[in-house]
Symmetry: D2
Subunit: 308 residues, 4 copies
């Protein structure tokens, strides 16, 4: 039975020394950047992740930190994105998830502070003339609410808008509760089927949409069964159980939890409503900085919804 | 200067005895049904409305009335819709407007209680087997928020979903404040450019989307300049001003108001937030009844989000 | 180390055969009623619960069940409350918790559908004349948001309003995840310090407020440490660990989890936002039925905000 | 018939040269400050306003202006408040109005960004030690929702909390639509019965609460009948109607409008939801600056909910 995680850096921890993967870690002030490159199909299969680059920016207590420190994270997001975005052309931001379910609302939340410019870029405003990159945004909702696969709706819009790239924002499931709202993953592999808190049935990838898809995700939940498994692991180590017996004991337990419906319960901080708002703002600022290289930080703040 | 109204029955009042128009009025209990058929291009131009059928269902105090009376209105909506819907095929409901602006939030509000079934209709649930019509729903947002023309987004989705018809729900501007939240207009002419509280730039019509478009609208505002003009009309009549002088006086005044920015101010009841919720529910129930003829009223209530 | 639960029926399960406690269980259709009476101070100390009566009404899948079944639960709540309410005098409903934090928002949610009548009961409406019991309602918020202890605010209002009783609604923490949103506890012991998802610092009791306090609570979360502990318990039983070693292993583990901050993480269903809305409505209907014995079910539905 | 306005500066315009009133106007950059002092009972009666000081800070396009300009307004609010606040003691902020009705939601909105400190001021945090003034906050709701007079609820809390002053925030009705969301009135006369968008039945004054009450209000609506009357006034002037005939014509019209229910309709900008958010933030920043003189602007931003 597979432990569910959407963070590549957590898969790496599970996989041990596998070939076809390169990783490195950098420290920028309080922010730790981990880059995982999955280079071969074998490695991709072993980790159950697509080939490509996964950048994770982590900072303990991210949502609680001060305004200046949050701006540092927004800049780090922008820096990471700049290496992945095509140099020209309109961009389409897609906020995934269900805005009525707090732990799955990150995507819609980010769009609230995103600087949307596609309809403005040809306006004869002298001060901005020629300096705005066209950005548009949609929050397509989830299948149970709309009756539409997210991929269907996005594909239809992509074919009319012809963006140079799609940037999809999503809430993720992690393996460690300490990652909730403290790590941001950016990847050029798009959104895979079955990933995210909302468990997307179809993916959003270059193959399905015909344009590059960059995915930005933040862990918002850990499945309750994962917490139980980790608790168990600690204990079995303490009591010196041998490895084979350990693995079997864990599998038996997970099976029991699943039969009790615990697999669908999620672990999340009590204050998740507030955290979504703060992390959403940090990401929106990061996107605005990356998307509008010809505007100053001040101009972006003045143009975005509520100023600084 | 044109008085802005999205209700065909109000245009008719303005136009007087014009040829190429047929109208009739029926009373069903407390509900008054007015049908306006615009049959010629001349009549269409004179009224600044597209050719087609406009059905208005009106009931004083609609939002305040009792549960049973609201259900009567939902049934009347369903009855009117049944005559306009294609007999077979999936339906796409489009909630127009801006959910963050109360007077323009009706479209999104209706979707909250709509029975979405397109992803369920092939489920092997015996009791429903073969009895669900496929319905899907999108709330594409407004240009200033998304950077996308509503028509672009809807066209893209229509091309992937291939619905038999689009049903678009929108908040309207009226000429009489007594119509706010008391009248519901249903038309087979779709959404015209420039109509609605949000002033759509592009329309949603059979010509642009390739499938029939039925529009359902409720007056939510009157423009302040219209109130001023009507107040003036009453007075000038009282003081016996002659007609030519009257018309000139009104035009002078409307010009002054426009220069003071009053034209953009809207008149709306203080409790509009609450009214949108109630009227939205009435319309959603009407759509559910019309869309699912093979389900009983009880089944619809049990399947829809919050039951009766 | 104490397992945190706000449900008396769960304390009872932990405590085993203790004297000074009487319990009984009744089945009303699909609803199971458990009554725990804590009769002595010794029993109260052993269970860490106040002396008094605790009624739990449980129904699997409560929030998902059909309209008619939900009404059955509302009637069962009303029946249980009738035995605890004073026969005459105004009633003050207090919605506890933080409306901005989903798992703690139940109290505010219930107030949205409560029939508030204290300002209406002297109106000369013939049809209602003399038949309304005066009900008022406050949602005082939480200390971190208001700077006020809930108990301070409620005490001040009680001294001006002089209600015959206070009815406080709160979100609870449980020990079993299967209880989340499926059980409703009603007690005449009021709200105790440290209880509820929001961990109230001061209590609301007859001693502090001077009038009877009836508390109505629904489990919305389980602490993550409890899930871990239960998972562990299952396993240790499987591997035949002896009881003393078991207890020590569990304590060691819980200590480790607490040091990792898992103790503050809560386990909750992903769709908790939706569940709060549905259970809140069930409770509001139950309160309305209990508070207004001289109105029919139909009259209550017509007077309450959105009808049936 | 009285024109309804809650702005003293508008009463003054109506009253002409009355004795017992002193006024002056100052320009601070783009902000115009108007101070009206009503010094005698005669003047108070003539203006239908209580004796005391009314400071209005006005800036065209306030809600749309840039971050730096908004901060200037917050500083001007703080400066005006400092002259009215008692030097020591806890402060109680009261957010009046109905948070479910957009045009009446300003009070609750301001509380969302207010720095609440009463429960923190004795914490042994070295950096803040002895520098925080105790602030607490309540949003008591409206009579129709709670069954409680606002004045009852606030009086009960005041008697328990013993604040040195109450600061009440409210949405106002104005006479000129150009004042909506562009002017902020600060007065030491408290809240009078019948004022505000919600039409408070009882007032909040030093007489009723026993402590000084400072009221802060922003015009959010103009009654539709006022718009009609003003439109009329313009026209009658144009056509050279004599003054007595004019007055009679206006009264006849207002009577007619009232009979049509237009008196209860309000005129408000379409984007009022957004404006309430922005003006609420400006006021909250102003209160935070005035309430916490021992904190720097930076510290206030770091402590307040979302930082700058």
């Amino acid at each position: 039975m597979q432990i569910r995680t959407d963070l590549a850096m957590e898969s790496r921890e599970l996989a041990g020394g596998l070939s076809g993967i390169s990783t490195y870690t950098l420290q920028h002030g309080a922010i730790e950047e981990t880059r995982v490159c999955i280079e071969t199909e074998e490695a991709a299969r072993a980790l159950d992740k697509a080939r490509g680059t996964y950048i994770t920016l982590a900072r303990p207590g991210l949502a609680q930190c001060l305004a200046g420190e949050r701006l540092e994270m927004s800049r780090a997001i922008a820096e990471a994105l700049r290496g992945l975005l095509p140099p020209n052309g309109d961009l389409l931001a897609v906020g995934l998830g269900n805005r009525h379910m707090t732990a799955d609302a990150l995507g819609s939340r980010v769009l609230e502070d995103l600087l949307v410019t596609r309809h403005l870029k040809d306006l004869p405003d002298e001060s901005l003339h020629g300096r705005l990159r066209g950005v548009c945004a949609v929050a397509p909702g989830v299948l149970g609410v709309t009756g539409l696969e997210t991929a269907e709706a996005v594909k239809g819009i992509v074919e009319h808008v012809h963006p140079a790239a799609v940037i999809a924002i999503d809430a993720l499931a992690a393996r460690e509760s300490s990652r909730i709202c403290t790590a941001i993953q950016i990847t050029d592999t798009g959104i895979r089927p079955g990933s995210g808190v909302g468990n997307h049935r179809a993916g959003l990838t270059k193959e399905t949409l015909g344009v590059p898809v960059i995915a930005i995700g933040v862990p918002m939940v850990v499945y309750a069964s994962v917490i139980a498994r980790d608790a168990l692991g600690m204990l079995l180590q303490d009591i010196g159980m041998d490895e084979a017996a350990h693995a079997q004991a864990v599998d038996t337990l997970i099976g029991k939890l699943a039969r009790q419906g615990m697999g669908e319960l999620v672990v999340t901080p009590r204050e998740v409503d507030e955290l979504v708002g703060r992390v959403g703002r940090i990401i929106a600022d990061g996107l605005n900085l990356a998307f509008q290289p010809h505007l100053s930080e001040e101009e972006i703040q003045l143009l975005s919804h509520d100023g600084p």
